[in-house]
Every structure is written in structure tokens, then in C-alpha cells.
Subunit: 190 residues, 2 copies
């Protein structure tokens, strides 16, 4: 997605050999017009697929998934919770996700009410790095007996193992841009 | 907002004398078409006001603010972070917010890049109960030297002190519905 590459080149900030910050439009401040461009592109990538629901994860996935839903006929969005909440039902699907940045496991949860057997689920998220969050979301889909249509990612870190992990499970991965490397303060696109 | 009252009556679930769960459309699963109705109503409530940016708080405010932005000319949305993140800048505005449900303070943060002097800021959030989160967001706006245009709330718990607290600071509060009480498994609207 050329517009996304331009946006990353003009607004992204690089730190070290693996961090790209896009908090001016995707992770902290949100550029809603641009999120609509992203949503349109996801709709193109998954054209012709039946999608009943979009599943994402708090917090960074929520804006992406909500805006994208408008380009998929306003299908419901469900976001998995990372933070324990006393308002969440007891009856949940849950999975363990290993965080490399925090060097520990965390639990993601979705109420059983909002993932149903036979539903066709599209997973959307901001970044794909080691792929553990996407795999965790796929586990929730499997627990529900629903079908994973695919995983749509805004920015894939192609130098980490996420894509291989998803391929090994025959998951249809669509990344809007893939980074080959982050070096000397610059991103290199595939 | 009559449609919101109907939605709460048909989909909301009450627990005890103070909890209304609306996780089928607002807090866990998101009804994006309905969020657009909410966004339109906020635009009506703040018609004629100059709004440069919408400020909200993760996670439940993000979808509301992002969809609402489309009815305010796609102004940028910024969400305050509750969870410490190594990707967040060191240079932040921060405020302490007391959580009654968790009986402790937590810190909310916004990067100084994304709140600027003189900007006209609309705060949007899902619930107003004791008002501490809204007051914390107002503190961030004040620290930045920006102007708070008002606070838009989807569901106000009118039997808690939030509205009074905001009034005492002359904040323009617009709640789409106000609950007078939650009793015997039912909500009573003002």
C-alpha cells in the first residue's frame, strides 16, 4: 500500500534495529481519514470472502477494526481484552500470549457470547512481529468453533518470525506493508 | 437519545444497584452502525463549537471517539494511555485518576506531541460515574494549555457524583442518556 509507505516515511520514527513508532496516526493519535484508507485496502484484500465479524485486541487494534468494519458492511467488531475487568463475563474463551517486549505471558479473553460456532472471523491488528497475538486470537476463534478467514495486518515486521508462524498454520495473512529491516534510523520496505 | 435508551433496554444487562453492562454494542463487542448514530448525536450536541481534536481514554473510549471523529470533519483522535508502554514517549502530560472499582489510583498519560497550546479539545468517553477519568483528561488539557470545549458521555450514571464535579468546574457536559437509578434488575432513565 503505497500511501501507507509514504505515511511511514514522513511520520514514522525509528528507534534501534526493531522499533518503528507510528503513534502520530495509528497507536496514540489516530488519523481517522487515513484509517478509512486502511479499511478500504483491507476490504480489497479480502474481497469475495464472507466475513461475519472482525476480531481484534485492545487497545491499538480497536480503532483500526472499528473503522475497517464500515468497509465490510458494518459487521460487528469484538476486541479481546488483555486487562482483567470485573465487568467481563466469567464465561470466556482465553489464550496465553507471550510478549517479547515484556518477556512474559499475558492472557487474552473474549466472552463466549461474542464468538459463535460457524462464524467467519477476520482478525485485524496494527503490527505483526513474532505473531504471538495473532496466534492467540486464532486460538480463541478455534475454541469457539468459528472459522478464521484471515489475518489483516497494517505493518508486518518481515524480519521477525510472525509470517512464517502463520503460514505454518495455513492462515491467510494480508499485510498492508512489510518491513524488510530497520537500520541506521531508516525502514526498508520489502 | 431515544435510540440509545431502546438499545440499553433491549441489550443492556444490569448487575446489582450500580452496574449496567453494555458489552454487546459498546464495551467489548462494537456495533459500528450504532456508534455512528452516537457520533452524529455528539456532533449535534456540540454543533457550532470549534473542535480541533477529540481526546479519549483507552480502551472503551477509542471506538466511540474514532467513529465520532467522522462527524466532526475527521479531526484527529488522541487516546490517553492507562497502561505503561515502552513505546510511549518519555515527554508526557500525566494525571492521577482514582478508580472506585479498583480502589486505587492509576496514571493516565498523553505524549506532549499530541496536545498543543490553544487547541480546542472535546473529551468523549463511554461512561460517567464518579467523573474522575473526565477530570483527569481535563487536567491533561490544562497542562497542555489547550481549551476544553466540553465532555461528551454516552451513558451518565446520574446517581453518582460525576456531573456535579464537572459542573463545579464549569465544564460543558453532554450525556446522551442519564440513568437515575439501577434497581431490581432495571434501569430508570432521567
Amino acid at each position: 500500500m503505497e500511501k501507507l509507505k509514504e505515511k511511514i516515511l514522513t511520520e514514522g520514527r525509528v528507534s534501534g534495529d526493531d522499533i518503528l513508532k507510528v503513534d502520530s496516526f495509528l497507536n496514540h493519535q489516530l488519523d481517522v481519514a487515513f484509517l478509512n484508507e486502511i479499511g478500504k485496502e483491507f476490504a480489497k484484500r479480502f474481497e469475495g470472502k464472507k466475513i461475519d465479524k472482525i476480531l481484534t485486541i485492545e487497545a491499538s487494534g480497536i480503532a483500526i477494526a472499528s473503522i475497517a468494519s464500515q468497509h465490510f458492511g458494518n459487521v460487528p467488531v469484538v476486541f479481546a481484552k488483555k486487562v482483567e475487568s470485573k465487568n467481563l463475563d466469567k464465561d470466556v474463551y482465553e489464550a496465553q500470549v507471550y510478549s517479547f517486549t515484556k518477556a512474559k505471558n499475558y492472557t487474552i479473553r473474549v466472552s463466549k457470547k461474542y464468538l459463535n460456532e460457524g462464524e467467519n472471523i477476520l482478525v485485524l491488528d496494527d503490527f505483526l512481529a513474532n505473531g504471538r497475538a495473532a496466534i492467540g486470537l486464532n486460538e480463541l476463534v478455534e475454541q469457539a468453533g468459528a472459522n478464521l478467514v484471515g489475518v489483516g495486518i497494517v505493518i508486518e515486521k518481515g524480519f521477525q518470525e510472525g509470517a512464517k508462524l502463520l503460514e505454518s498454520k495455513n492462515i491467510n495473512l494480508q499485510s498492508l506493508v512489510v518491513l524488510d529491516s530497520i537500520k541506521d534510523g531508516k525502514v526498508n520496505f520489502r
